[in-house]
Symmetry: C2
Subunit: 328 residues, 2 copies
Amino acid sequence: MHVNRATARAFANIAFIKYWGNRDNKLRLPVNGSLSMNLAGLYTETMVRWDSRLQSDTLVLNQRAATEDARKRVAEHLDVLRARLGLVGYAAVESHNNFPMGAGIASSAAAFAALTVAAVGAAGMELSERELTTLARLGSGSASRSVPAGFVEWYAGDTHEDSYAESFAAPEYWDLVDVIAVVSAEHKAVVSARGHQSANTSELQVARVGGAAARLTACKESVLNRDFMAFADVVEHDSNLMHAVMMTSRPPLFYWLPATLTIMGAVRDWRAEGLQVCYTLDAGPNVHCLCMSNHAPEVESRLRATPGVEAVLVAGAGGAAQVITSAN
Amino acid sequence: MHVNRATARAFANIAFIKYWGNRDNKLRLPVNGSLSMNLAGLYTETMVRWDSRLQSDTLVLNQRAATEDARKRVAEHLDVLRARLGLVGYAAVESHNNFPMGAGIASSAAAFAALTVAAVGAAGMELSERELTTLARLGSGSASRSVPAGFVEWYAGDTHEDSYAESFAAPEYWDLVDVIAVVSAEHKAVVSARGHQSANTSELQVARVGGAAARLTACKESVLNRDFMAFADVVEHDSNLMHAVMMTSRPPLFYWLPATLTIMGAVRDWRAEGLQVCYTLDAGPNVHCLCMSNHAPEVESRLRATPGVEAVLVAGAGGAAQVITSAN
């Protein structure tokens, strides 16, 4: 057997309760549990071909040879997978996203979820979803959340095996929609992996983490009760807390652009007017406007009319990462 | 004696280490000590006339009859002063600022410092500067810092008498200049007095307060050593911490406008290029760009060229609050 390949698709996810900071940077054990929703239609597709003839791992990203930094990060993750799968050969990897990379639409989450699922599939192995989430986590923490379907909880855990993700509600459980205002599609200046390592340089991080479990419980209940106003309250607060930590890290991390601030204010005003919408931001300037599906067209049209908004993406709750084709 | 009047002038001040939150709202005992500089040229002038013929306290603000809310707040402060001075009559008060009110250029600080000094002067009394700072504090916390000259420390204290302010360096000690980018001269939606009461609703406030004494010491040393880079580091961080607490209060207080964010980023970039400038913000959207006097013209011209900047005010270190005219 020279060639054994599979292609997997994984959706990006948006965190309702944020992951920011690790208790173990190597194992990417987070300081707090997090909650998210997969984003239907915003995906990474990754083909992995285990090929004993290769002299090294190779990576093609969005139809171009990847940078050496990107290739190395993928090769390091493949080392982890080789060890687990008992493989010795290298892999050819081809990956592409259908959304802009590096601008707060967690591209590394979808990427490492797809890479993990494709690499395991290409080896002809079947692993439990729980184990797949832990393996994906080693590549990028939030990738663990892009493996299961729909609304997902990632448990902080104490060990590699304990820090896994699982679905707590199916995609169709709640008709929540993420209307994403893209205010910049440029690649961000500070990648999240480095940001996580700086989280402890803010004296506010301890307090953010201290309340995270209670916020997670409140958020999960609001989803299960389909209680939008309770959901909005905790989701915006959790996002504000994470950005408060970022802005007070040393050196400070300011991800917001002027248009980001405009949209955050507008969303609060729109909700006061009766639109069921709230905002959350990842480590980037784009504003994820979470709303009930019947309000999504109005939110989309208002965002398109807002100065500084370059594009608007709309996504409902997405499914699990999965192999879509495989071949020998 | 029917009439006894005095006019006092007090300068606004800009805090380097912020006051945000009280341990006692009635006495306005702050949760942490703070540091500031008076702003030469940006002042309130207040005339107080004790007049036994009046049926109530009256207030004219910037040549107009004041709102009843403003008149009541002044009357309450006059109650405190009447009790201390052993007076029974009412007062006619006329006050005006030469800078825009309520947009983060602490107008209440200059106002209550001038009111206190004028009311005491109009009564023909002399009180120690220390006592004047404590009396001014009862009207508006940061007013205590507008009483002494130049660079001022306000001690948190445990009692009314302990919570006073004093100068730790004269105005001419360091040629620091505040170049203020006014991005909005509108009156702010949430007055500071109410903001202080909401500070404890942010779970980040405890950590901000916990580090305040160390930041104050570092900041004071940087002023005394005339070490601009050390000053910039602690001043921006302290401002970021206060706004982090504001944005995570319930409900959140967002004072920044889009142009605020633009200027904050620009100031960090300018400093990286070699300009000795840093930013700090009070409870408002205007950006105080603190710089060495030889860099002030360049900072002013860059700010005037920045979109969203409505006006630029420039102030060096100002003197003490004092009576400028009095009459019987």
